[in-house]
Amino acid sequence: MRAEAIYHPSAGHSRLYKMEKAKQSADTLILGLAGGDMSILDQIYDSYRDDFLRWATQRFQIKDRNDLLDAWHDTMIMFYEQVRDKKLTHLTCELKTYLFLIGYRRMLKFHKKNEKTDLVEEFDANINMDQSINVLEVEEFMDQQNNLLRLAVSELPEKSRQILVMRFMEGKSIPEIMTTLGYASENAVSVTLSRGLKKLKELIIKRMPS
């Protein structure tokens, strides 16, 4: 997936240069985040949180700060999942622009705004975003089924859960997991992984027989 940005021809060289530098920086961040460096996520979160809150307050006239924070949390989660699932590998717009677009869609969806803002006008660029950023997923967060799934995961032993997350969520290989968690052999990792996955499946079936 590539997010494209069309710049105004009148943009000066200095602005374009800055944006290019920003993109390189954003790509570096994405690369690091995809490799499992969660401190990068914290860095991005801290850098843009207050700007987002200010913008969203003004744009959507929302007074409840908790609503705004929830929106920002969802925005960052969606961004992270795009990176984790290898659906976002490169940005051609600024990272902030991308994040704010995610947040904008999220705000529109959940606060039922009637007026539609021209995204070009709003973000000064045409940004083609992968439609897999499905804002509807956010609605499922509070779903009963999701609660049961979350509870099933919470019943897993911590070690099993950690291996499963590293293997299937973070995309780490067996040798990498062995090194990170200090297992004696790759076979030990594979066995623990298989057992953990089976256990999780059984826990889910127990809670959700259907």
């Binding site: 949180r49 989660i77 999942e81 967060f141 997350v165 969520m169 996955l197 499946k201």
Partner: protein, 298 residues
């Protein structure tokens, strides 16, 4: 499920299945209903992990919010403190500048008052006989006095000329006895009446706190302070009496406050207070206040 199938599913879920392996999986899904169910259950397990990870991320971000909000609060309090300090500095500088302006000679504020000194007589100038000058009626040359030229301590002179510690019949001591056996209040009244103002101030400090808060007694304290040259200490006492508005010496407090302003060179404030004083019905220093006010406003 066979172990090979298990491994294949795990590779598929991790996104590492080759195209051939993916085709194999698709074929098994179509061929084996049980395999299909197993695969769906494992896919649901993946969804469960994603949901759990989202919740972990949410908790992670909540922790970040606590840290960021704490940083914002400390930053803002620091900024606010800086702003307050800067604002206070401006206020202090403005106050100093205003005071300096008011301490400058009176001639900068109002027309020159009439001269208080007679022009000095000079010895007549004897014309030089070598020069053809009009020597018939040599006029003694009077030294012209510049009405705008005033002694530097004129305000203090005016203060001294108009200040006299207030005294009335009610301030006469009701008891005269050995001072050592007298109550502090009686001693205070006695010393005040005898114009022993230093001793009166000492007596005042020995009064009970409730007595010291009494506006009428505070008025006498202010008089004693002014009489002993402590006008700076007297001014807040008089201000409080005026602000409280309860003392029977309220009007006189206004007059004496005007005198302190005059001594400090704050002529406009002194004039304002004198006007206030002269507008009150019963006052003891009408003549002095009127003369002083007229002098200041000419």
């Amino acid at each position: 499920m066979e172990e090979t199938q298990q491994r294949l599913i795990e590779k598929f879920l991790a996104g590492e299945a080759s195209p051939a392996e993916q085709s194999m999986i698709q074929e098994m899904v179509h061929r084996d209903p049980q395999f299909k169910i197993e695969l769906e259950q494992y896919t649901t397990a993946m969804e469960a992990l994603k949901i759990a990870q989202r919740e972990e991320l949410r908790n992670r971000f909540r922790q970040r919010d606590i840290v960021l909000d704490r940083q914002d609060r400390s930053l803002n309090s620091g900024k606010n403190r800086t702003r307050w300090i800067i604002a206070l500095a401006f206020v202090v500088m403005a106050f100093i500048a205003w005071n300096l302006r008011n301490l400058s000679p009176v001639m900068t504020e109002q027309p020159a008052p009439p001269p208080t000194e007679l022009p000095e007589e000079t010895t007549p100038i004897t014309p030089n006989p070598d020069f053809a000058t009009n020597v018939d009626n040599p006029e003694p040359e009077e030294k012209k006095i510049d009405p705008r030229r005033k002694p530097k301590n004129n305000n203090e002179e005016l203060f001294a000329a108009n200040f006299e510690p207030y005294m009335d019949e009610s301030m006469e001591p009701t008891m005269r006895a050995d001072e050592d056996t007298m109550e502090p209040l009686d001693r205070f009244n006695l010393h005040y009446a005898e114009k022993k103002f230093d001793a009166a101030l000492t007596d005042f400090s020995q009064l009970s706190s409730s007595m010291q808060q009494n506006d009428n007694l505070q008025f006498r304290q202010a008089m004693a302070l002014m009489a002993t040259g402590k006008t700076k200490e007297a001014s807040p006492v008089l201000d409080e009496i005026i602000q409280n508005g309860k003392s029977k010496y309220l009007a006189e407090a206004v007059y004496y406050r005007a005198l302190i302003y005059l001594k400090e060179g704050r002529v406009s404030d002194a004039t304002a207070y004198l006007n206030d004083y002269l507008g009150r019905p019963v006052i003891a220093n009408m003549a002095k206040a009127t003369q002083l006010r007229d002098m200041l406003t000419k």
